[in-house]
């Protein structure tokens, strides 16, 4: 039996979390796994917290409230202009219906290696701001591998892209219909180099520094640890990681040049 609290101030939310409640934003992931994992007895909803809403440009970068639905992230003109890789990753999740319910914070906080947005956030070097009764901390999304009890992800900060940056996200839907990725790749390229991040692999998303695009794609293909499932064997996924890494890098280069 679960109680859902819907506080309107961050302070009351934090007090509830400190009391042992757990945060819920869209609740999509928790509801999906409700049969296997019983819901927590007390949940704190975040959709009415002003601090977890809004998408704004700050110092040339972006602040995205963790409670923003993925659909809003995908459609936001500033996100699309500054970090298309993030907009594309958000837009690639499931369907519009689920993207309107699921939030960016909830998607990241699920720590599911099949999820798309975290791959893009790691690629751009985003940080997450977490608050709790003990205070506030800022952590690179790349290093965020679990949520500490009592903590709430409030928002994400995406750095300003340096001049000549291009980015792109590629998700391979092996059947042409929306589902989890067979393989996914986020590319950020800069005049000095860049970053390739591969998702849907074991452990955390795989980060590969880019000097040469083809070498980076090959390196990702060799070192990534995809799993075999209905979407493909490990051998096939490795080949597809190379292919979609190249595609993401190619699009990112084109955008950088534009």
């Amino acid at each position: 039996m679960t109680t859902v609290h819907v506080p309107t101030t961050l302070a009351s939310a934090i007090a509830l979390l400190d009391d042992g409640a757990q945060p819920v934003s869209g609740g999509v992931g928790l509801s999906l796994r409700r049969r296997e994992n019983a819901l927590p007895g007390s949940l704190v909803a975040t959709h009415r917290l002003p601090q977890s809403r809004g998408i704004t440009v700050i110092d040339g970068g972006l602040r995205i409230g963790a409670g923003e639905p993925l659909e809003a992230v995908a459609a936001h003109p500033d996100v699309r202009a500054l970090w298309p890789v993030v907009a594309e990753a958000a837009a690639s999740v499931a369907t519009g219906r689920i993207r309107r319910a699921a939030t960016l914070g909830g998607n990241v906080a699920a720590f599911d290696p099949s999820h798309d947005p975290p791959v893009a956030l790691v690629a751009v070097g985003a940080t997450a701001r977490l608050v709790s009764a003990r205070g506030e901390r800022t952590v690179p999304v790349r290093e965020l591998t679990e949520q500490v009890s009592g903590e709430l992800i409030v928002d994400f900060h995406l750095p300003a892209p340096e001049l000549g940056t291009g980015s792109a996200y590629e998700k391979f839907l092996v059947r042409g219909v929306w589902e989890y990725a067979c393989v996914s790749a986020a590319a950020v390229v800069t005049p000095a180099g860049g970053t390739l991040v591969v998702g849907s692999v074991r452990n955390a998303p795989l980060v590969v520094p880019v000097t040469d695009d083809d070498l980076a794609a090959e390196s990702a293909s060799r070192t990534a640890e995809p799993w075999s499932d209905v979407r493909g064997s490990v051998a096939y996924k490795r080949r597809m990681i190379a292919e979609f890494s190249r595609r993401a890098l190619r699009t990112a280069r084109e955008r950088a040049a534009a």
Binding site: V174, V177, S228, V230, G232, Y236
Partner: protein
């Protein structure tokens, strides 16, 4: 994204011998159940609420094969709200099944696949029922399991059923003509082996039942079944009670496709729970259960040998088929029969031979699915025809045209072809997709293919009868009610049958309604299977409407003195243009006058029709249907060589279903069948041994979505079936049949690799391309 281009059908104006309102036949009238379906009012089985109704949950085997040593239900019984817990001790130990009874309502001593039903619970709410079901402890002793065809057929293989030696559930052979001789005389012989996989119907509404077993001993079942009367027969057997004690009422059915034709235990378990609880019980499968408990398309392994003369005339065909039955038989025995013989009514074979074997495995039991074996047969034989065209150096369109059956043709199995516009279908499909132009100007990584298929309009399967009967009652306000047990599973059959009645009676469609199917109140009917309702039930409704019309005209003749032959009904009004130009009597007024008088008589017409077909013998010889429907479909696909991904770019489907009674409904059957064919070819599969559901939900099993639909041309042949109602034949299944084969052949045309095992995954195409290099 491509815009679907639906071509308007060509309609003939046959001489109907009746004053038919032409605006009804051949018109896309609004569906008679439309308002209910677009307002949320339509009552599906999950929407049925009865006083004191309980909710059921089922305990299923986690083992592919095991002995059930004990079932402890004590903890479940203590859960608050639980009113019934049942096990094999609560049923009559009668095995049941459409053709080979091999299934108990709940497992007795042994479970045979992951998902086999072991016990069940009914409680005041679904959550309590689920919780109680989880508290039932079953002690199993695992047995070796046979998880694919080869394992099941191996020497000394573990038996799935002790009475099925070698795990063979059914075996038959046939030879018509001298196949060896014809093959020896052939200039070109192609051969190959092709394999299909399980495909789930995946109606968006799962299987369910509300059962209410009265203390008087009768049980009423509200079912989303396609076949209320056949379901009643089988469920009565399973429950060990006379048929007269079981009443089946059809609710709205949220999609059928063969999956709701009553071969699974859901309704039986609901009935047993209700009997024990003494209260109504609703049992509705979850999506996960649907993947385990329904009866998906049966995987077939087809080895084909096909002979031709140099100029492209087919000589003989030799096939060997083994079928993965799964753990129980259901209708798969009949599916295998259809897969073996029906496609021999597409082309003019001189001799055919077959050896067909149905093999038990410890996998999800299989059964009827739209096409009934035809899509799997076409997957193999259709691809063999495509290969042959290549070997012969003849364009495949020309090869098919050269060999297609025609009216008057008799197949080796005695399929007597009546109306048949297969050649017209082939020509139109080629034309609609731009075959000649595309062949002349090929696009890299794109490929073309064409295929054809045949289907029955009803089939004699359940004894020597494939008929239907109907009652048409004219009401005192001048309307008509069609009373028939055929039901409605979403296709619009109710609307089509009302159109037939309206056209026959001279009424407007809005003045005709139809009963729901109810084994207690309506006429007997075999229901929605074998593409039979339009043709068989349509004829019965037409006969009943004619009888009602004759009663009306005879009655009015006695009232007015105008000879019945001079009377007609136009737009709901009786007229006699020649005999009495002033006569204008609304039908309602006439019906009232005929009733409200001494010895008054209501107008109730009864009609019956039996398919003019033969009950095939054990070797499947016999003209199984009175009318055959045909299709030709052409596809253009694009392959991404870097990934192996296949996209169907454009597709033309041309069907010969006789007169198109309702273009929108007929198009809808074709469009939906094409989508299911694309799913079978490209998107629908599970990981794991022989496609056993692992994560049994839509997470892993993917239906085609709107974005996957190609640019689609749908058209109908100019055709008329003399034995059909207003010239119509069936159209419900046919358009699915050729799709997987033509997608595979188009892939072969595009990039030179041929896939022999469904589904056509990007990975298979990718590795085949790597080998090719």
């Amino acid at each position: 994204m491509a815009t679907p281009d639906v071509t308007a059908p060509d309609l003939t104006e046959p001489d109907l011998g009746l004053a038919v309102e032409p605006s009804i036949i051949g018109t896309s009238v609004q569906r008679v159940d439309g308002i209910d379906k677009i307002t949320g009012r339509a009552q599906f089985v999950g929407d049925v609420r009865l006083p004191r109704m309980l909710y059921g949950a089922v305990v299923r085997s986690p083992h592919a094969h095991a002995i059930v040593k004990s079932v402890d239900t004590s903890r479940a019984r203590r859960v608050p709200g639980v009113h019934a817990v049942i096990t094999s001790a609560d049923h009559a130990h009668r095995k049941w099944g459409a053709f080979r009874p091999d299934l108990y309502p709940l497992a007795v001593d042994r479970v045979r696949y992951v998902g086999d039903e072991v016990a069940a619970v009914a409680a005041t709410d679904p959550e309590s029922a689920l919780r109680a079901a989880e508290l039932i402890t079953v002690e199993y002793e695992p047995l070796p399991a046979v998880l694919d065809l080869d394992a099941a057929m191996a020497d000394g293989a573990q038996l799935v059923h002790d009475d099925a030696e070698g795990n063979v559930a059914h075996h038959f052979t046939l030879e018509r003509g001298n196949v060896d001789e014809w093959l020896a005389r052939s200039d070109v012989v192609v051969e190959g082996t092709w394999q299909t996989t399980r495909q789930w119907h995946s109606s968006i509404e799962t299987i369910g039942c509300v059962a209410d077993w009265s203390p008087g001993g009768r049980v009423t079942l509200w079912c989303n079944t396609q076949t209320p009367f056949l379901a009643r027969q089988r469920y009565a057997t399973a429950l060990g009670v006379p048929e007269s004690q079981v009443r089946v009422i059809q609710t709205e059915v949220g999609g059928g496709f063969g999956g709701k034709s009553g071969d699974d235990n859901t309704s039986v378990i609901a009935a047993l729970l209700s009997k024990v609880a003494g209260r109504p019980v609703q049992l509705l499968l979850s999506r996960e259960e649907e993947f385990l408990a329904s009866r998906p398309r049966i995987p077939l392994r087809f080895t084909v040998k096909l002979g031709f003369t140099r100029d492209g005339l087919v000589t003989a065909k030799d096939i060997a088929v083994v079928a993965d039955n799964g753990a129980y038989t259901g209708k798969s025995q009949a599916v295998l029969g259809a897969a073996t013989v029906r496609h021999d009514a597409i082309y003019k074979y001189k001799a055919v031979r077959a050896d067909s074997r149905l093999v038990y495995t410890n996998l999800v039991p299989t059964g009827a699915f739209r096409g009934f074996g035809n899509p799997s047969a076409d997957w193999a034989v259709g691809q063999a025809w495509d290969l042959a065209a290549g070997e012969l150096g003849i364009d495949v369109v020309d090869l098919l045209l050269r060999n297609a059956v025609e009216p008057g043709w008799v197949s080796p199995h005695n399929h007597r072809i009546g109306s048949c516009e297969l050649k017209q279908c082939i020509e139109k499909a080629a034309e609609l997709i731009g075959w000649r132009e595309k062949r002349a100007n090929p696009t890299p990584n794109r490929g073309l293919a064409i295929g054809a298929s045949v289907h029955v309009s009803g089939r004699r399967s359940f004894g020597d009868y494939d008929g239907s009967s109907a009652i048409v009652r004219l009401t005192e306000d001048g309307r008509a009610t069609v009373i028939a047990g055929e039901g409605e599973i979403g296709t619009g059959a109710r609307t089509t049958l009302c159109q037939i009645a309206a056209a026959t009676l001279g009424l407007s469609i809005s003045d005709v309604s139809m009963s729901t199917a109810d084994t207690e109140l309506t006429t007997h009917a075999l229901g929605a299977l074998a593409s039979r309702v339009t043709y068989v039930a349509g004829n019965a409704v037409r006969e009943a409407a004619l009888a009602a019309r004759n009663q009306l005209l005879d009655g009015v003749s006695t009232l007015t003195g105008v000879p019945a032959a001079e009377l007609d009904v136009v737009d709901g009004v009786l007229v006699a243009p020649a005999a009495d130009p002033d006569l204008r009597m609304p039908v309602g007024a006439a019906v009232r006058k005929l009733i409200y008088r001494p010895g008054g008589t209501p107008i109730v017409g009864v009609g019956a029709f039996d398919n003019p077909s033969e009950f095939p013998d054990e070797s499947r010889f016999g003209n199984e249907s009175g009318a055959y429907n045909f299709v030709a479909e052409a596809a253009e696909v694009e392959v991404d060589p870097a990934t192996g991904a296949v996209r169907v770019v454009e597709l033309a489907a041309v069907a010969d279903c006789g007169t198109v009674l309702n273009p929108a409904l007929a198009q809808g059957q074709v469009e939906g069948a094409v989508a299911q064919g694309i799913g079978m070819a490209l998107t629908e599969w599970f990981d794991g041994p022989s496609a056993t559901p692992d994560r049994a939900n839509y997470v892993d099993y993917k239906l085609p979505t709107a974005g996957l639909m190609p640019k689609l041309h749908v058209a109908f042949a100019d055709s008329y079936e003399p034995t059909g109602p207003f010239g119509a034949k069936g159209v419900g299944e046919i358009a699915l049949d050729p799709i997987p084969a033509i997608v595979a052949s188009a892939v072969a045309d595009a990039v030179g690799v041929r896939i022999h095992e469904l589904p056509i995954t990007p990975e298979k195409v990718f590795w085949a391309l790597q080998e090719d290099e």
